[in-house]
Amino acid sequence: MASRSGKGRGLKSFINIKTIIGGAVVFLLVWLVATMTMATEQKAIFLPGVTSEGHLGFEASCASCHEGFKKVSNETCNRCHEAELEQDIHGDKKFRDIRWAEKLEKLDALTCTACHGEHVKMYGRGVHLQPDLCMACHEGIITGEMTSHEGFTADGCWTAGCHNYHDHRSISTGFLYDNLDQPPMLPVQTVPEIVVEAQLETAPSPDLKSEFLGGGT
């Protein structure tokens, strides 16, 4: 008798309201975390801020840029951006030269993330520094060294579209000078033609059939 009533109490206390609520809370928490981590698409929950336009499409793929909590390296950026930066005028080639060492103290031009942060507020072109960043080295241009640029605003160099920090090819004075006064349509257009040469005169016989009809290999 005594033992039976003991069991009864045990069962009752096991399913008392506190245990049920506690169990449900733990269940929900673990379920939430586990589901989010298992379903890779949901990793976005861990993003610390808004992702820039260019990286938005794969923002849930943390490992694309991050290795644990290590700082993001130039090598990581170059996995994708190498070709675009081939002609980088403000790149390694310039700043590995000792003559420019002093300038690097003003702006760490050798580190991508010095200007291109992520998950923070951007000012265009994936740049998180204030738009007047050029002034760190080129302030003289708007304060008297260059008559043509006198009185220009400090934040307009690139935001107005006139200058491109990494690539001067199409925006340098020399380029503009050389191409002034061209007609709207150039006399010679230079879109390459694609030529595909056939190796066979007629198509060979299709070499698979039953596989497509569900016949297996």
Binding site: L186, E193, L200
Partner: protein
Amino acid sequence: MKKLLAIAFSITLSLALSLGLSLTASLPAQADSITEAELNEITAQWKPSAHALADVNCSSCHQDSETKAFVEKPNYESCQSCHEGETDTFLLGKHGIRLREGQTPLTPTKARIAMKPEAHSKQMNCNACHNVHSVDTYQASVDSCLTCHNDEHSLNYKNSKHSQSFLAEGNIERPSNASVTCSTCHLQREADKSGKNTFVNHNNTYNLKPRDRMASEVCMNCHGMEYAFNSIFDNELVNSNFSRPPEIHLKSFDMVRVLQEKREGK
């Protein structure tokens, strides 16, 4: 002890549930075979194609070269084995980067610009734009883009002068360099690494921004510099897909003219 048991039970149950859910989500789609009529149609598309005449047979794409196992739906790696430049650049652009990073293919739902609602579930893979059996690039040059893209610039293409050049050429297997299609500007033809062959750079964002890149690398293949820059920096003109000559005049050119006058003593 009882509380501990309850907690342990909850943890096990929730783990099992979420594991079950994620497994269900990742189950492969059931293999579906096609009818003989469909196969005949595909074979007919393939026969006169550049693939067939280059001796690219069914097994070239639909059979694993090592295990000889049948591959029902070849992925980009299959295309990459011949079209290396095209695939590598596709994987670097917005269309393909998710695949490169091991994620599910991009779908228009993830886009931040207007996309056609009926295309929302389309998955970006090589065959999203290319008919891989007929392999003509006519469809891939304009129609494929407009299957999804629904923004002002895209929709206005059909009213543009560029479009007239494409229409004038008619439905040919591969638009010539006289046609200005979506891909003429957004998926450029370039010399490959060897410099001997032309390939199509499938990184759609390669020259898109900053706009000076588009002006010099793309517009200036055909247009003079001032016309190109004055057009590309005019938002209204970009939206209208260049429906008229540019009306803005960038100050930069005046500055260079002042310099020119000084230097040449004009």
